[in-house]
Amino acid sequence: MPLDASYTGQSFKSVGTRPLRPDGIDKVTGRAKYGADFNMPGQLVGKILRSPHAHAKIKKIDTSKAEKLAGVKAVLTAADLPDLTEGDSGMFDMLDNCMARTKVLYDGHAVAAVAAVDAATAKQALKLIKVEYEILPHVTDVDEAVKPKAPLVNSKCFTEGVEPKPSKPSNIAKVTEFGHGDVDAGFKDADIVIERNFKTEQSHQGYIEPHACVASVSPDGTGELWVCTQGHFIYRNHCAQLLGMDISKLRVTSSEIGGGFGGKTHIWAEPVALALSRKANRPVKLVMTRDEVFRASGPTSATSIDVKIGVKKDGTITAATSELRFASGPYLSIWAELGAMTSFACYDLKNVRTRGYEVLVNRPKSAAYRAPSAPAAAFAVESVVDEIAQKLGMDPVAFRIKNAAKQGTKSSYGPVYGPIGIGPTLEAAKNHPHMSAPLGPNQGRGMACGFWFNFGGQTCTDINVGIDGTVTLTVGTIDVGGARASLALCVAEELGIPYSQVKAVVADTGTLGHNDMTDGSRGTFSSSMAGIFAARNTIQVLKERAAKMWEIPVADVTWEAGHAKAVGSKYGNLAPLSLKEIAAAAPNTGGPVAGHSEIVADGAGVSFATHICDVEVDPETGRSQIVRYTVIQDAGKAVHPAYVEGQFQGGAAQGIGWALNEEYIYGKDGRLQNPGFLDYRIPVCSDLPMIDTQILEIPNPNHPYGVRGVGETSIVPPLAAIANAMSNAFGVRLTHVPMSPPRVLKALEAKA
């Protein structure tokens, strides 16, 4: 049964070890090629003109002067791109975001682009493009946008998901609802009910590498795109579909990626680069500036969330609701829906209802950011959970253990859970030395839980065995942080050969079948499953070749520890054949030895984490410092534990930055005021302590080695863990993230 994904329960030789990564030397010597490190002969420099207005009608664009400038080879506006107005609204939105067609919808929205012989000429050409705008009223705040008299971002937006269909347009693009039971009855049964409103500000993924690509389109309709992306197959499909190209004639090669965290799952400037190349008939390199990255790519939603929880005196939750308003940017998205789904996923609830509102605002299109929407939802829910525990006089861990979801629980978003890690992470937290360590002056300790679904999706891998017995593993999921090492470990394990004999590479779109993106923590989960299946198919071929070499039936050949063995005693004198020996004989036994797999990787096990955090607050300035931090998370099976720890630590650090500092600040004019790393301050080395990790391994029954995704969950608990720590330190409850010094100081002063 080569395609049986069930957990085997086997013991491991390679999986669980910490070898060096195959791309490591290149990355410490400066040889690795990222998005901006690649050039094509004769390439031009592409630059984009962006709107200075939050909301305006484009009355006229005069490009004549720019076109006449010496060295300018192409000038592009939406008029040069296919008009998708009458087509699929999702595709229209995607292209409209890359290049505004009739209106600019946020500060930074692209309106025109140029390709020129060098950067100086391209910049000069942008200045020569004259855009006539009719400025429209704008709205950037999510709570303002839902008010009846708010300026309309899109006058054709009628709320989806409500009956009857509204007769008037609004900024609420869609409403979704999840839950079960009778929440009204549940709240009546409660002894204590707490209801609070929370706000989280917009944060950016903050990848250090700006978006970069080199595009080349030929007159015969074929094209090449070199790009930093989390999903080159998806980029290929979207770019080709938007530009009217044949999908298979556009070959996309993914560069090494300098961070993505969800932000490089969406296309931004790539269709523009391709269209410029098509128009100029030359390759075009387009690299965003940091200012462009902040203004026109990425950020996660700003949110406003109401949470209400009712509880019995014995600590049993009787009902829970959440109403989540997520700013979506100017286009419909799914972020409130994901917030609604994740809100109460940690708990076993009889009565629960969550409702998500996708709200249009004049800000950049909201993008996926690591466990998208879950951190904001968890901030709200875990804060109220903590407050209830305080009110009941119960230990916050014990209160959560009492109400935690377990195997068989019907989750708040629908499915019934299999074996899950929320209970074990809480038990581990209870017993962790961090929980009982002494605290210093002005310090408080908090904890919180987090959940993420994890995705599977379409996955395709190849294994090719060289005549020297070394193995190339070709995958199509982007390696964002060490996955090639993990995937090679799994294939080495399955084939029974040393890790050093396997080299994992990421294929371009011309040399492997479709792969979904590296998102939803699916990279290692799905590509390891596909890799294991490809290895099993390879073993089948190796067995057939051994049978041929021995001239015995293949049914009498087994595969053990990297060797073909003849079964039983009737072939007693046959020494086992190693993979190397079979590979060497391959030219005479049927040609190249290879194995493939094409799957939809179902059964991604859900992921849970519990975080513990000590924070010290300076009561005079309101500045907070994290003094100790512990992440406890279920990995299913940690294939390469060092990179699993790295995911735990990195997610926690991003959550800490969001909790304490990071936010998009808009002026009254609707312009972003801090589009740079100086004023949008992500945590630096001196802001953080060591981040301790504890990996739990509750096997995922739907993966041969028990693997679960590990990449995202770690960003979910920090916001609430820190707010809970501040509450325990000072008796003030912060309900607005980031909990920056002015907000903390205000809260402290209000209490005093």
């Binding site: 990355k27 410490v28 010597t29 400066g30 040889r31 901006a36 590498e209 790295g646 953080l688």
Partner: protein, 157 residues
């Protein structure tokens, strides 16, 4: 009018012509062909373009290419001694101190500059010494440990 610059990069004599307003980062990447230094921000906030000029740690996006005249520039490409990695490079790999790796060249150059001045830094000195370099993947934990371990090895301790 282009300026002709004669300089030393990683011990090699290098000459290039550059624009007066061209940064050292652009010259290194586009004219000298060394793309190890990265542009993460172009404003000196992220440290991904860190190099040393006459031993002094700088953001090469804030230095004019013309200022390299007659100086000695060291980049990440010059850290290894042939096939032998610098202890910092080795320890970054062993400790899994990189995930995406885009900030790694800058961190290595900055860490080397730190250890050249202070061979036995405390954790706090490492954290403040590397505070000019942004990493979004690791949370810095494994980077600090790698630098501690490399410092120890370099001291022969």
């Amino acid at each position: 009018m282009a300026i002709l610059v004669s300089t030393t990069v990683n011990g090699d004599h290098v000459e290039f012509a550059c624009e007066p307003n061209e940064t050292l980062l652009d010259a290194l990447r586009d004219r000298v062909g060394l793309t190890g230094a990265k542009e993460g921000c172009g404003t000196g906030d992220c440290g991904a373009c860190s190099v040393t000029v006459d031993g002094r740690l700088v953001c090469s996006c804030l230095v004019l290419a013309a200022e390299a005249e007659g100086r000695e520039v060291e980049t990440v490409e010059g850290m290894a001694d042939g096939a032998e990695l610098h202890p910092l490079q080795k320890k970054f790999l062993e400790h899994a101190a990189l995930q995406c790796g885009i900030c790694t060249p800058g961190f290595l150059v900055a860490a080397k500059a730190l250890l050249d001045k202070n061979p036995d830094p405390t954790e706090e000195e490492i954290r403040f010494g590397l505070a000019g370099n942004l990493c979004r993947c690791t949370g810095y934990d494994k980077i600090v440990r790698a630098v501690q371990d490399a410092a120890k090895e370099m001291r022969g301790a």
